[in-house]
Amino acid sequence: MAETILKMSNIEKSFNSINVLNQVDFEVKKGEVHALMGGNGAGKSTLMKILTGIYQLDEGTIEIDGKEHIFKNTADAEDAGISMIFQEFSLIPKFSVAKNIYLNREPRNKFGFIDDKKMVKDSEAIIKELELKIPPKEIVENVSVGYWQMTEIAKALSKGTKILIMDEPTSTLTKTETEILFRIIKKLKSSGITIIYISHRMDEIFQICDRITVLRNGKNVVTKNSADMTMEEVINSILGGSMRSSFEWVERKASDDRTPLLEVEKLKSGIRVKDVSFTLFEGEILGMAGLMGSGRSETVRTIFGIDPLENGKILVRGEHVKIHSPDKAIKLGLGLVPEDRRSQGLVLGHSVKENMILPSLKKVSKKNLIQNKIANEKVERLIAKLKIKTDDIYKEASLLSGGNQQKIVLAKWLLNDTDILILDEPTSGVDIGAKTDIIEIIREIADLGKAVLVISSEMTELLAMSDRVLVMKDGVVTSSLERKHIESEEDVERAIQIE
């Protein structure tokens, strides 16, 4: 058995006297891929932020290679060979790939100036080692988002990292990109690098992880070899017995009179949306499948009045409408859970409550004055319904865990009682129990006669809720499949890839 490289013992951490980590032990062996799992708000990110020196532990010890370390800041952790790849990328979009990889550690020539040639050459070597094809001189902005992560990994490697932490790395990746990532992980592993892997996606864990540690409510639940655990066991430890995760598709009673709520005809916008037409009916859940870059997000952005519509038309409840701004879209009864919760979904510095009521201020006001009683009651109800983990409704959104932040963005539109709900990756970063809850809530909404358009790159989830699936490729809708005619995920995968 390999030796232990990292040992965190009896870790305690509280924020404002609210305990987040309680006597947590975490042990990782050299060269393994170790999954760190747990529900939203279980304390995974907090534990890793302690390991990387972002937070300081209240009590406990950290040992690396048998030597105790105290990390006062991120530089200390980096010196000890620990790097973390954050979900929010830390790359500078306007800099080249090479410049990003060597940011702040640029190689110097004998005059003390930055040695660009060496930087590009060294970057090239690292990228090659990862068997990737990213031109080091390219500006990051122009590289596909899927490769940003690889650039981050290259950056970590260039620092001589021993332990690499990945916090939900695949949530922005397509299937192909995920495969590339997994290949890289295996490569890193074989070269002796240890990886701590956080994810809510069960299948991934069993695919690449050697051992699993599960946290629940800030406490250890289990650490085991993944070969010795079944998926049910893992889910059970995460949720604590209350096994509530079924991605089973149940056919919903389709109403007979199919009233179209949203009709899109020959939509064109920018380079990504070329010719999109579809109809969304009352009470329907319409899924959108496609590769990253197939134009799904851009399509819904155009419908919602964010990107300019260059051609085509949009009908809401049978009426031709011009939507120039999200404000107009919302007035027509549309709502959008955007792709990126941090930059588009939330005012991170504002409270849970303020975020949730932002699209619905009129609904919680009388004569333009906000009625706190009404607002608080609605907010409390949604916190309970979505099981959002927060100290109270006044907690700053930035202090919630990733999955709980995502739930706030969804809650904004539930509070607004939106008729036509558009969801762009609504469950990104959400734990497995909550995913099931959200799927159920989406069905409930549709049962009320509202319409839901949902983009998801998780096929299991998409198939669990959609009544119909649209397939997009290169800015065009290539097919529309009735859910009941879809036998397996492969059917859709094939339709997505079709040339």
Binding site: I306, P326, A329, V347, E354
Partner: protein
């Protein structure tokens, strides 16, 4: 239970409330050290209220601008120009109401232009209003021919600056009215929430249906209007319109807002804090005068206060 107390102390938001603590300390300090100089006399305190009224009033509107992550450097100049247009209108014999109308319109119009350039042409507000500061001051100078324009309308002089009601200066009433309206707008109205959201994360605000461009137009027109009111109050108090009114006020106003706990990074704002900040700066200036310090020394102290305010008002570091 010392641990409980400890928690409460930890939870207490020092940055947000520092101005109140500082204000109380300043008051206590000067009450003791300047007792013989008559710091605590009613006359002196009312004097402070009179001297800070214009800064407070402009500060209330500036709180909205800064909370929406913009800045308005033109307020001092706008005060001067509005004082002059008001005085000129009365000089032309059009009466007090027409003069008030013209004065306010002057400010609102400049606010509109500021807002338009910021939202439609997308020039940063720092540049727009810095340029506007010069343009408007120049215009005030030109329109007045650099000489004061006397005001003789007694009603105007009473209501806009010099009057007293029940022994309380009318300027204090103006301050209170504007502060109360501003406080309610920011804390409890839809407009206030949307202003804060615009400053907190403009993209997320737009995605939530906030018309951020309109919000910005409105906050600039707000500072325009309040700067105009301040200018009219200067004019009433000194019974003339002068192009020098409000010179340097923009910095005092911004200092009051930041000192009060409004974040220069947008998304956080407090009207009450601004007014306290303004009164505190006024109190310190007053104390310096009582102590016999001159204008140059006052300026130095004020500069230091601004640095301290920004240092304390820096974004809270994450735990």
């Amino acid at each position: 239970m010392p641990s409980k107390l400890n928690d409460t102390l930890k939870k207490f938001d020092w940055r947000q409330n520092i101005v109140y603590i500082a204000f109380v300390l300043v008051l206590i300090y000067f009450s003791i050290t300047l007792q013989e100089h008559g710091f605590l006399t009613q006359d002196n305190l009312l004097n402070i209220a009179r001297q800070t009224a214009m800064i407070s009033i402009m500060g209330v509107a500036m709180t909205f601008v800064i909370a929406s992550k913009e800045i308005d450097l033109s307020v001092g100049s706008v005060a001067a120009l509005s004082a002059i247009t008001t005085a000129l209108t009365m000089q032309a014999g059009l009466g007090m109401f027409a003069a008030i109308f013209v004065g306010l319109l002057t400010g609102i119009l400049i606010g509109f232009i500021n807002g338009y350039l910021v939202t439609k042409i997308a020039i940063p507000s720092f540049l727009v209003t810095l340029a506007m500061m010069m343009v408007v001051r120049g215009l005030a100078m030109w329109m007045s021919g650099t000489s004061p324009i006397p005001i003789i309308n007694e009603h105007y002089i009473f209501f806009f600056g010099s009057g007293n009601v029940l022994g309380i200066p009318i300027l204090l009433f103006w301050t209170i009215i504007i502060a109360v309206i501003g406080h309610f707008l920011l804390r409890h109205s839809i407009f206030g929430r949307q202003t804060l959201a615009t400053g907190g994360n403009e993209t997320a605000a737009i995605f939530s249906g906030v018309k951020t461009a309109r919000i910005k137009m409105a906050v600039f027109m707000g500072t325009g209007a309040m700067a105009a009111l301040a200018g009219m109050l200067y004019a009433g108090r000194l019974q003339a319109g002068r192009f020098t009114f409000g010179d340097g006020d923009e910095l005092s106003v911004i200092a009051a807002v930041i000192l009060g706990g409004t974040s220069l990074f947008g998304g956080v704002g407090t009207v009450v804090g601004t007014v306290i900040g303004s009164i505190m700066i006024g109190t310190i200036n007053n104390a310096l005068i009582l102590q016999g310090l001159d204008v140059s020394q006052q300026m130095m102290v004020q500069g230091i206060i601004i640095i301290l305010a920004v240092a304390f008002g820096r974004k809270k570091k994450k735990v």
